[in-house]
């Protein structure tokens, strides 16, 4: 077979210059995306493109605070992305809880549940700051330091343990049993734990 290592610089360049974002805006930072995408900042110059499906996405933006409810979805979506995949945490909340530092229902350290490659501090970070974060991510991809997806594979037990500690064993099936009946029969109010 062909020795693909020869082409690695090309692949790294393509990965760097063509980051597709999964449009999964989990928090208030999602409102920073429209100025980024439109004529003021225009991240499409760097090949960054919002994309609805995680299957073909590279960059996962965690835009703001994370609750257990959204964390479940974040984990599921993250695991669906094909390698290599990168996570950009956006704002103070995923770092240390931000203004929700004493909130009973906010995740203070996202790093415990999925690996974060680049974190942008601020509440909220301005689009310039996000742009800077994207630039930083591109640098990391080029130097090969954006290896969150490798860390997640290697330390999967640890991440899994943290997730299960928070949600309890078999949380995926439990959640599925909760939301689908709700979808099928809207009258029944279902509480998310």
């Amino acid at each position: 077979m062909v020795d693909w290592r020869l082409f690695d610089p090309l692949f790294e360049y393509a990965r760097k210059r063509s980051m597709w974002i999964v449009s999964f805006c989990t928090g208030c930072g999602g409102i920073e995306m429209p100025p980024l995408a439109t004529s003021r900042y225009d991240f499409e110059r760097f090949g960054v493109m919002p994309n609805p499906s995680p299957r073909m996405a590279d960059l996962f933006l965690i835009t703001g605070y994370v609750t257990p409810k959204t964390l479940k979805r974040i984990i599921i979506t993250y695991e669906m992305q094909p390698d290599p995949k990168y996570v950009l945490a956006h704002g103070s909340c995923p770092l240390n809880g931000g203004i929700y530092w004493d909130g009973y229902n906010a995740i203070k350290h996202l790093d415990k549940y999925i690996p974060v490659d680049v974190a942008i501090a601020g509440c909220m970070p301005r689009p310039e700051a996000v742009m800077d974060g994207i630039q930083k991510m591109m640098e990391l991809i080029e130097t090969g330091e954006a290896d969150g997806w490798k860390r997640y594979k290697e330390n999967y037990e640890w991440y899994r343990k943290n997730q299960d500690e928070l949600f309890g064993e078999g949380w995926r099936e439990k959640t599925a049993r909760r939301w689908i009946p709700w979808l099928m029969d809207k009258k029944k109010e279902v509480k998310e734990e």
């Binding site: 693909w4 082409f7 090309l10 692949f11 360049y13 393509a14 990965r15 210059r17 063509s18 597709w20 449009s23 439109t38 004529s39 225009d42 499409e44 110059r45 760097f46 090949g47 994309n51 609805p52 499906s53 995680p54 299957r55 073909m56 590279d58 992305q81 094909p82 390698d83 290599p84």
Partner: protein
């Protein structure tokens, strides 16, 4: 034999490359309409390389893989039948109806692959794609009928040759009507707004494409590029006079000149679609069906009836 193989290879590479450029042009032009800078023109190639070089891929079974391969294979098949200037591998068999069918087949492959994943979004996407196809089939059929009846032949190549003598198709009233209808149909075949109901990003997460990732999506990007080239080429050939240049002594110059003329015509077709796509919002599926069953159908049927007189 060798010559045919070389020609086929040339057509394939040219179509792929120009198709990717077309995708880039669409993105740049849309960006400029939005008053953005937009990506470089080679951005779709970078995207495809990135997708193909993904380090993990998923599959939902044999049909999931085969459908994707079938889509690309059928698109390559279709491009061989359409006359490309002086070059043609199977243009003797380039029958209007055959090409019309061949341009639709890749979608069937994508549908099969998408549906085998079991994703409900893919199911809805397939439903919308099929209903869009059902809607466009009426004006499309009348436009093809008008062409065949006007020229008395089904061969695309002969239609191109006839246009060298009698002027472009759109210079004749019945075919002008057919061309207008076909251009409206083309908007849905490209999957551009206002008829991008089948992919509807943000609403049903790209519909049929939702489960494709990595190399599957990469192959579909190549397929999309070739299909874009094939559809614009077909339109330029049957309505805009194609290109058969014989003014130069050297055959190589003739070929280059005719490819250049075709390229201009194809880009013109593409730009019309892009402009329309950039300024319209999305229809719902029943609005699209009612639209296609009304104006384009009336225009195309009028063209067909005038052509048959």
């Amino acid at each position: 034999m060798m010559e045919t193989a070389l020609k086929a290879l040339f057509i394939l590479l040219y179509a792929t490359f120009v198709g990717f450029m077309f995708m880039g042009i669409i993105r740049i032009v849309t960006a400029r309409i939005h008053r953005r800078v937009g990506p470089p023109i080679y951005q779709p190639i970078l995207d495809t390389i990135k997708l193909l070089s993904k380090k993990s891929n998923i599959t939902h079974g044999v049909i999931y893989d085969f459908g994707v391969l079938y889509a690309l294979g059928a698109t390559i098949l279709a491009i061989m039948f359409i006359p490309l200037g002086n070059i043609g591998v199977l243009r003797a068999y380039g029958d209007l109806i055959l090409i019309t069918f061949l341009l639709e087949i890749p979608m069937l492959g994508i549908m099969f692959a998408a549906m085998s994943s079991g994703n409900p979004y893919a199911g809805i996407g397939a439903q919308r794609a099929l209903l869009t196809m059902l809607a466009i089939q009426v004006p499309l059929g009348f436009a093809i009928v008008a062409l065949a009846e006007f020229y008395g032949t089904f061969s695309t190549y002969e239609i191109v040759m006839a246009q060298q003598v009698s002027g472009w198709s759109i210079a004749h009233l019945p075919l002008l009507l057919a061309a207008i209808a076909y251009d409206l149909v083309l908007q849905a075949m490209f999957g551009k707004e206002p008829f991008d109901i089948m992919i509807a990003p943000g609403e049903i997460s790209l519909g049929p494409m939702v489960e494709f990732g990595g190399k599957h999506m990469g192959i579909l990007q190549i397929q999309h590029a070739i299909a874009l080239f094939a559809e614009t080429l077909f339109f330029s050939n049957i309505f805009l006079g194609g290109a058969v240049v014989t003014t130069f002594a050297s055959p190589v110059l003739n070929t280059i000149a005719s490819l250049a003329i075709l390229l201009v015509k194809q880009i013109a077709v593409l730009l019309v679609a892009t402009f329309m796509g950039a300024i319209f919002p999305r229809f719902t599926i029943d609005q699209a069906a009612k639209f296609y069953w009304k104006w384009p159908t009336i225009i195309a049927a009028l063209g067909a009836i005038l052509a048959s007189l």
